[in-house]
Amino acid sequence: MNAAPTPNTELTSALEDYLETIFELVKERKVARVKDIVKARNVKSASVIPALRRLADLGLIHYTKRESIDLTETGEATARRIYSRHKLLVRLFRDFLGMPAELALQDACAMEHNLSDAGVDHLVRFFEFLQSCPDGHDFIERFKGCALVNAESPQDIATCCAKLALSPNDPNIISLRQLKPGQGGSVIRIQGTGAIRQRILDMGIMPEVHIQLERRSPAGDPLWVRVQNSQISLRKKEADMILLRKDTPADTNAP
């Protein structure tokens, strides 16, 4: 008998939803009435009344017939917890993961009743971290820029992330195109796919290899580079695909 909790003492997801609604109404209008709840939840008053009774039984609300409803102290704490959880999940889906608002709301409602307190706690910490960490904002923006745009292709995501992760912070990591004539650097990564990438690889341009920009064509494009013992010309657009670490004066002076 004691294994099965009595229905009267359990806070079901439906009850949680009611509690949440009452919390929102109280916050908004100082008071919650049955007809407001009926309106907000889009249900019949016949199903609201038993739920309110149950909540009252659980000691979460003050409820007497035809009067306004108020939360008890425990009720308010519980409601606050549920509400913040809801808010958190909506934000996760909508703001961080970039889902449409309506879907985000729907998924948040489905998920909020099933998370453990520890799970919520970890999520909260994670998002607090993202918000307070200096790179957090960039991180979210990058996710939206790469993963959401390139949803179909994991490879493009990797390429895109590499580009973002490598370029903005280190001023010495640039694309081949950004070199000045006479400057060199060692290749970090070849981006892109297909024929152009394979041709670049076939020419011996690959990670770790040193490459130097000799000159540009008088018209500015294409470029003329030296790779190991050979000299190769390629267009700016192709040079854009080659990321390298620019030689520092120390490299140049080395024997």
Binding site: I196, G220, W224, Q228, N229, R235
Partner: protein, 689 residues
């Protein structure tokens, strides 16, 4: 011959592969096409002891990926045709990159000869290789050669024979544990299909790389083939996850790893003298920001000057020779007998063919210039300098070589577009190529320019007509690329080989190759058309009208079939300033551009002969200068530059583009443009003058 073997010659572009091929086979070669695709196929033979060796010169490739038609053809020859011996020609001065191709070829078969070409340059640079160690590590013969000097060729022949008798042994290619394990797992399934054993490693690596060519092939093999493809997908995923790189980079790096290992053990001393220093100094001047374009223009102008000014002298000799032959035949011919045959020989054949052969010196000089550009390596610089411009008009740096070739002849130019990977780039180049003034049009300029313009303006007139052709080609390319042929462009990643002194053998060979084709055309198509034109211009004979004086007799030419056709189309070309004589000759230009000249020759010779005029007309030029104004002359030049690509061009465009649609578009489009431009030029010119 008691035995025959087949050898395939593979190598990077600029590795001197074709020089080696020429040194091996001498004049015993044949140039044709690979069936289905449009890549040139060179084959030849040589004999050694009692063995006849058939050599196929594969198109030059950097790797055996499947992105360009050349790479696909090379794979087909290596993997599917299964030659008895594969010779891999590498440039000894760029061993690291060149040997990657060797590593790939080691996966396609096991009887190989490695040919280290340009060994002298590598030695000068101070590079020293332990050849015996290399042979031991690879398990097949290694030969050092200097292709253009013919050094090491007999050793290469011996090595080929030796390799053909080698035991078939498993490949000694080591690509690292991870990749080798993955390949072994895929090979396990491939081994259960009927794919020849020697090519199993190659099929495995291609499946791993997800090359559709091979995936499809294995899928057709049903059960084990499908399992091989599935296994490959599994291994690919595993390797990519493990290394965090995509598979093509991973595999390419393992090839380089093999080459690095090989060189670590066999390179006794690496190159420490910069043999490119001189070449680089030349480049620093020749392709720099300031001098690059002027030097390029100067080089192009020099070639035209050579063709025009220097070519004038031998031209006169040939002219004299034909005139003398005609006179000799006329003099020696028995009076009154078979006059028709005499007329056919002198007025038809000699006048027609002579009018074409006379321009042989110009053709030879033009091809000399182009061959030197190609062999010195300046051609690649020219592509570097012009790519921006070509690109802006929707063309590709690679269009440059076909278009330059188009100055020689449109046909090889169109054939040379085969090197272009992108279909739309290729079609565009093909369609506008006839605007590059070809060698066959040179005789026309040679005839018309001196006829209408004073000596001091002739070189610039020639330069001008070429320039107009180029500008029109660009504009038309831009138009095509933004309308009918809109789409993506192909990569422009191109090697710039060091400057080399061109060898006599190669340059002369090229000239003989191409001028031979020109003469052959003169001997066949043009001969036939000359005879046809003679008939058209001779028959039917006008009736004798006894009562009228000689001046009012109807001209025989006007009365002939050709004359009537000319008269018929005259209303259409009159607004351009042309009369029916030009009309007749222009019709002939469709057969072959240079026929225009021989045709005019025939027309004027016949006209002169029948009128029985005592006045010596002299050369055709004088006749033209007498009959037409320079305005008509230039209008005519414009028309001939732009209109109606010759019969052979239409045929080759149809073949290369794969449908009559493009050939017709080219033919009618260009003719319409020519008419509009000549019309505008002549009408506006008439108003102004």
């Amino acid at each position: 011959m008691s035995q025959e073997i087949r050898v395939a010659l593979a190598g990077n572009p600029n590795s001197g592969k074709t020089t080696i091929f020429n040194a091996l086979t001498g004049s015993r070669q044949h140039v044709g096409n690979y069936p289905g695709v449009t890549v040139e196929k060179r084959t030849g033979t040589f004999d050694i002891s009692d063995t006849r060796v058939h050599v196929t010169d594969l198109p030059g490739t950097y790797s055996l990926s499947s992105y360009s038609p050349e790479e696909v053809v090379a794979q087909r020859e290596l993997v599917d045709a299964i030659p008895d011996v594969m010779v891999v020609v590498v440039d000894s001065t760029t061993l690291k990159r060149s040997l990657v191709l060797l590593a790939q070829i080691m996966q396609t078969g096991d009887r190989i000869v490695l040919c280290l070409n340009m060994a002298d340059e590598a030695r000068t640079a101070g590079q020293k290789l332990d050849k015996p160690a290399l042979e031991t590590l690879l398990g097949f013969p290694v030969v050092e050669t200097v292709g253009h000097k013919g050094q090491g060729i007999s050793e290469l022949k011996d090595a080929i024979l030796k390799a053909s008798q080698l035991e078939r042994t498993p490949s000694r290619l080591v690509l690292g544990e991870r990749l080798d394990t993955a390949l072994a797992a895929i090979t396990f399934h491939i081994a259960k299909t009927d794919i020849p054993k020697a090519t199993h490693p190659w099929h495995a690596v291609k499946l791993l790389l997800d090359d559709p060519l091979y995936v499809d092939r294995l899928m057709e093999k049903k059960g084990p083939g499908k399992r091989a493809v599935q296994q490959a997908a599994l291994e690919r995923k595993k390797l990519e996850d493990l290394c965090g790189e995509d598979i093509s980079l991973f595999v390419t790096q393992r090839y380089y790893g093999f080459v690095d290992g090989l060189l670590r053990e066999t390179l006794l001393r690496s190159a420490h003298i910069d043999t490119r220093a001189l070449s680089d100094r030349i480049d620093a001047f020749v392709v720099n920001k300031v001098a690059g374009i002027p030097v390029f223009l100067l080089v192009m102008y020099a070639i035209f000057w050579l063709t025009f000014t220097v070519g004038e002298y031998p031209m006169e000799w040939i002219e004299d020779l034909f005139a003398w032959s005609g006179d000799a035949i006329n003099g020696a011919w028995p009076e009154g007998k078979l006059d028709v045959l005499r007329s056919l020989i002198v007025d038809g054949i000699l006048a027609g063919v002579g009018g074409v052969v006379v321009f042989l010196p110009n053709i030879i000089l033009l091809f000399l210039g182009l061959a030197v550009l190609e062999d010195t390596g300046y051609m690649a610089r020219a592509a570097f300098l012009t790519d921006r411009l070509m690109h802006r008009f929707g063309l590709h740096g690679r269009s440059f070589i076909p278009m330059i070739t188009g100055f020689g002849c449109t046909i090889p130019g169109i054939m040379a577009t085969r090197t272009m990977e992108n279909e739309k780039d290729r079609l565009t180049t093909m369609l506008v190529l006839p605007l590059m003034s070809c060698g066959a049009r040179l005789p026309i300029w040679m005839l018309l320019i001196p006829a209408f313009f004073p000596p001091e303006h002739r070189a610039s007139m020639l330069f001008g007509i070429y320039a107009i052709g180029i500008v029109l080609a660009f504009l038309l390319a831009l138009l095509l690329r933004s309308t009918l042929l809109r789409g993506e462009e192909a990569p422009f990643v191109m090697e710039l080989p060091p400057y080399r002194v061109p060898t006599m053998r190669s340059v002369v060979g090229r000239i003989i190759d191409r001028s031979g084709a020109y003469l052959k055309k003169a001997g066949t198509i043009i001969l036939a058309i000359s005879m046809l034109m003679w008939v058209l211009t001779s028959y039917p004979k006008p009736p004798e009208v006894v009562d009228v004086p000689a001046e009012q007799q109807p001209s025989a030419l006007e009365y002939s079939i050709a004359g009537r056709i000319g008269k018929f189309i005259e209303p259409a070309i009159a607004p351009l300033g042309f009369d029916w004589k030009i009309g007749v000759a222009t019709l002939g230009a469709f057969a072959a551009k240079e026929v225009f000249v021989s045709q005019l020759g025939v027309i004027y010779a016949m006209d002169d002969f029948d009128e029985d005029d005592d006045e010596d007309i002299g050369t055709l030029r004088d006749a033209l200068a007498r009959d037409y104004t320079p305005l008509v002359g230039f209008s005519l030049m414009l028309f001939l530059l732009i209109a109606t690509p010759c019969m052979a061009t239409v045929a080759i465009t149809r073949r290369e583009a794969g449908s009559w649609k493009w050939a017709f578009l080219q033919f009618f489009g260009l003719t319409a443009i020519a008419w509009v431009i000549s019309f505008a030029f002549f009408q506006i010119g008439s108003l102004l003058l």
